[in-house]
């Protein structure tokens, strides 16, 4: 490489901005045709990354993608010990009032699937109203190859029939070996 940083102290990692980074994936697949959520069914949230606000300008070094075209998080370019912080942004419109929501990440594969699940706030302000879920962050660490090498799907479960519009997800990477 003809242009490279000089690190006389040998400590590395002093240029933090070139170690960590993020990619923001903006979905268009649910913009005009919202995703239908059947009651009490876990439904995978899609993200085609084709939205105008997709931002790959600040990806971590040596990382080209963090999500596949179906909306599953793709950590295969990361390493064991790395951590990702995910901020999802989606809006749900229930057909009946007072539905409850659960969200989960589906991880692993090959018979070793597992889920990280959370309960979201109840949609109790009425039906036909948009409930936006955004700004909260989740943390997933690459503790084993089962997590690292398999797609991480985003899934939602509503007790009320509803529709979902996905704005997208930003995925921040914190490297273990800075």
């Amino acid at each position: 490489m003809a242009i490279y940083p000089i690190d006389p102290g040998g400590s590395g990692g002093s240029d933090i901005a070139r170690t960590n980074g993020f990619i923001d994936y903006n979905d268009t697949s649910t913009t005009t045709t919202p995703l239908v959520l059947n009651a009490d069914i876990w439904t995978t949230i899609p993200n085609d990354g084709q939205g105008a606000f997709t931002n790959k300008a600040y990806a971590p070094p040596n990382v080209t993608e963090l999500m596949d075209s179906n909306g599953a998080i793709d950590a295969t370019e990361l390493s064991l010990g790395d951590t990702i912080i995910i901020r999802n942004d989606y809006t749900i419109t229930p057909q009946t009032n007072n539905g409850s929501l659960q969200f989960r990440y589906g991880l692993g594969g090959g018979g070793n699937e597992y889920f990280l699940e959370t309960r979201l706030s109840r949609m109790d302000s009425g039906s036909g109203i948009e409930y936006r879920y955004s700004l909260s962050t989740d943390l997933v660490y690459m503790g084993d190859l089962n997590t690292l090498n398999n797609p991480i799907v985003l899934q939602i479960n509503s007790t009320a029939e509803a529709t979902l519009v996905n704005a997208g997800s930003v995925i921040f990477v914190a490297r273990y070996n800075a």
């Binding site: 003809a2 242009i3 490279y4 940083p5 000089i6 690190d7 240029d15 070139r18």
Partner: protein, 98 residues
């Protein structure tokens, strides 16, 4: 060792560092971003001026010196903002040493 050169002003368009500094292309140089906190300098090695949307090697403020090896083509630099704000007519500062 050559005396320290005062930092050079880098605008928001690709600027030939060899022309700017008087250091011949192909000479080993070391570069440091001594601009403001949001100032980022894009670097590129190219015989000709890179396209306006070309994305080079980003050097952030307070990053260590970057080295360009001897024997390379001309070195180009461009100022951009970390927050992607329009640079307009502003400049940032770049230390260039042989």
């Amino acid at each position: 060792m050559a005396d320290t050169l005062s930092a050079f002003s880098i605008p928001g368009v690709w600027t030939n560092l060899n022309t700017l500094t008087g250091i011949a292309a192909g000479t080993q140089i070391r570069i440091q971003n001594v601009g403001g906190a949001n100032d980022v300098v894009d670097l590129a090695i190219s015989a000709t001026e890179p396209a306006a949307d070309f994305e080079g090697v980003e050097v952030f403020q307070n990053a260590p010196f970057y080295q360009v090896d001897a024997g390379e083509n001309a070195v180009w630099a461009k100022y951009k903002r970390l927050d992607r704000a329009d640079v307009g007519g502003r400049v940032t500062k770049l230390q260039v040493q042989t």
